[in-house]
């Protein structure tokens, strides 16, 4: 039996999973929508991965989780490593591009920049207050223009004269877009303008003050959009590398990290197990911490959310 490692990246929009061997080769991969139900999404993900995976030849001895639901899913999968997405993305990308210097990452709800020097993360930033210039903005605008998100990039490439669209804030961008459409700008120009707006917004906010040097790797869901890639290349005057598995870097990174941890037993059959979460408000003080309790087949397995020990929930082990 050879050893294999599962990495799961549960974002707000999509859930990504990979299984790798000890040499970081991808044995199975899957990408699906989270749809506001991380537990359900992970159950589906694990079921699909199981089908595409040779259980006779390989045995999973490590599980890692990352993404905004990493803690919850970490408990459910019994992961041996739970890592933030910044570190996970850096590790995943470095395994394929050891000399990478800059990582652009634009996902569904967040975007980040990671600066790497000699294989070590030296600086990073993440968007904080708003989702301007992320995937969800692009998909809502494409709907407004009657386009599928997938058509967006190729159409943008056709434009010779991208429309100028206010990039500072999605609300302004949206009204600007409507005006420009109504006064007769061509659709492909508007689409190209939007791609440019996303890039300017990204570089001015997340990328502000960061030393952007090549090689630059671009990943996250939006990296599938050729229009945005082109806009990045024009803006930075550098070649932008996009890996075919660019959306899986976080999952890959956390699977690699699980190789270094103590080995665990993993069971693919979680589909029939009932996982439930319950919010319990603490009445200890006026802060009323919202604590989350996780139940596995009715049994409490973990809890968090309390700020102080007064609100700690005891778990029988």
């Amino acid at each position: 039996m050879k050893k294999a490692y599962l990495g799961v990246d549960i974002g707000s929009i999509s859930t990504k999973g990979v299984i790798i061997d000890s040499e970081n080769n991808i044995l199975a991969k899957e990408y699906l929508w989270t749809e506001g139900d991380p537990i359900g999404a992970v159950k589906k993900l694990v079921a699909v991965l199981k089908k595409n995976f040779n259980e006779k030849k390989y045995k999973i001895v490590g599980v890692g989780t990352t993404g905004s639901a990493r803690k919850l899913i970490g408990v459910i999968l019994g992961a041996n490593v739970v890592k933030n997405e910044i570190t996970a993305h850096a590790i995943g990308t470095l395994s394929l591009y050891p000399d990478v210097h800059t990582i652009f990452e634009i996902g569904g709800q967040d975007s980040k920049i990671i600066i790497i020097d000699n294989g070590i993360v030296t600086d990073y930033a993440m968007n904080t207050l708003c989702a301007a210039g992320t995937g969800s903005f692009l998909s809502s605008q494409s709907r407004r223009l009657g386009l599928e998100v997938e058509e967006f990039g190729p159409l943008a490439l056709k434009s010779k004269n991208p429309t100028n669209i206010a990039a500072r804030c999605t609300v302004f961008a949206e009204s600007d877009l409507v005006h420009k459409a109504q006064i007769g700008h061509k659709k492909e120009d508007i689409v190209a303008g939007l791609c440019k707006a996303v890039v300017t917004n990204y570089l001015n906010n997340v990328g502000k003050g960061k030393k952007i040097k090549p090689p630059i790797v671009f990943q996250g869901g939006v990296s599938k959009n050729v229009g945005v890639i082109k806009a990045f290349e024009e803006e930075t005057k550098e070649k932008i590398i996009v890996d075919p598995n660019s959306h899986l870097m976080g999952a890959l990174g956390v699977a690699i990290l699980s190789q270094k941890e103590k080995e665990i037993e993993f069971d693919f059959n979680i589909e029939d197990i009932v996982f439930e979460t319950k919010g319990v408000e603490c009445k200890g003080c006026a802060n009323n911490c919202e604590r989350i309790c996780i139940y596995k087949d009715g049994e409490l397995i973990d809890a968090w959310g309390n700020k102080c020990d007064k609100g700690a929930i005891k778990i029988k082990r």
Binding site: N84, G209, N288
Partner: protein, 356 residues
């Protein structure tokens, strides 16, 4: 006549010192607002202008909670940024909300003419005894110094305690006992007693632990609730935390001239409030070999926004990672924890790489 029951906004552990001034120096009662919670911030946010800095909201929420707890006289301080306008605006808001309270605004005082402060204190107690007040203030200053000394030690060791919670427990006991102090002699005894107790707490420090320096805006850096207990979160990962910013260093011994001189390569003018100290300490921490620096501020804090380009230069010149946090009333823990975790991973991996 109604009894005067005074409240000052909660601020770190310092309200014990204010309580001492009010009780011993002015012969009035002191009312503690309940500890800051989500509710405090909710009340504050609801009644504040949306774009005002976050400490304003915490203060206002705290005032209202204190009034509900029986306070009828409120004190606000002044400062060389928007803080200077807090008092005036808060007094107006509270009045508009229908609260009948006396508001003492120390930003009406003028340091060049100390008698103006005396006038403000007189509003609290018209029959105040100047000698008594002076004595109480002198002791309060000493109390501040002791608090800062004790908390500095805790900050640098709490991440390595063998039994979790030992330092927190001692800290709580210390603050409890500090409340009963009447004179300098008692204070010195207490200080020595607790330093001894703290040094007895067993710690397991690795040979070369990670070190992180904190810089940033006055209130957010010192009030643990506002910065989401960031110091503690980091310390728990086994990091020594350095924080120069406290009342002892910034108010009692500020050394403005020297600070200005030492940062002249980076900033020519004082940008107000804590800006110069932020720059100075960032340089110091970088030179002293810290593994990283954390900059915290409330959303929209102008002096601290001004320091950020300078900090970016310092980060580049000294090759030290600096991470920036901006807090407002909507900030959730999740995003902060992700960034803190990533920061920890980053400085850890850098350190390991250096060892090789």
């Amino acid at each position: 006549m109604k009894k005067t029951r005074v409240n000052f906004p909660r601020f770190g552990s310092y309200d014990i010192c204010v309580e001492h001034i009010i009780k011993s120096g002015l012969d009035c009662e002191y009312v503690y607002a309940p500890p800051i919670t989500k509710k405090t911030l909710e009340i504050g946010t609801k009644n504040s202008p949306d774009f005002v800095c976050t400490p304003f909201k915490y203060n206002l929420g705290g005032y209202i909670e204190a009034i509900e707890a029986g306070a009828n006289t409120l004190i606000q301080v002044g400062g060389v940024c928007r803080l200077g306008y807090y008092g005036e605006l808060q007094e107006r808001i509270l009045k508009d909300l229908g609260y009948d309270v006396k508001f003492i605004n120390l930003s009406n005082g003028n340091f060049k003419n100390p008698i103006t402060f005396y006038e403000e204190f007189k509003k609290i107690n018209p029959n105040l005894h100047i000698k008594k007040l002076a004595q109480a203030c002198a002791l309060a200053v000493k109390m501040v110094e002791v608090i800062d000394k004790i908390e500095d030690y805790i900050r640098q060791n709490v991440g390595f305690e063998k039994i979790e919670g030992s330092f927190d427990k001692l800290h709580e006991e210390f603050l409890e006992d500090l409340r009963d102090i009447n004179d300098k002699k008692e204070l010195n005894l207490l200080s020595r007693l607790y330093m001894k107790k703290l040094k007895k707490v067993e710690v397991e420090k690795p040979k070369n632990p990670l070190k992180v320096g904190f810089v940033g805006e006055y209130y957010t850096i010192m009030d643990q609730y506002s910065n989401h207990y960031m110091e503690k979160e980091l310390a728990k990962k086994g990091i020594i935390i350095y924080r120069w910013m406290n009342l002892t260093n910034s108010i009692l011994n500020p050394n403005t001239k020297e600070v200005k001189q030492s940062i002249k390569n980076y900033a020519k003018y004082d940008m107000g409030a804590t800006a110069m100290y932020t720059i100075k300490k960032a340089i110091d921490y970088a030179k002293e070999g810290c593994d990283g620096i954390i900059h915290v501020k409330s959303f929209g804090c102008t002096p601290e926004i001004d320091t950020m380009p300078v900090l970016q230069r310092i980060s580049e010149d000294y090759k030290i990672p600096i991470i920036y946090f901006s807090f407002d009333s909507q900030t959730s823990d999740v995003g902060i924890n992700t960034r803190i975790e990533a920061f920890y991973d980053m400085i850890m991996m850098r350190k390991e790489e250096k060892k090789k």
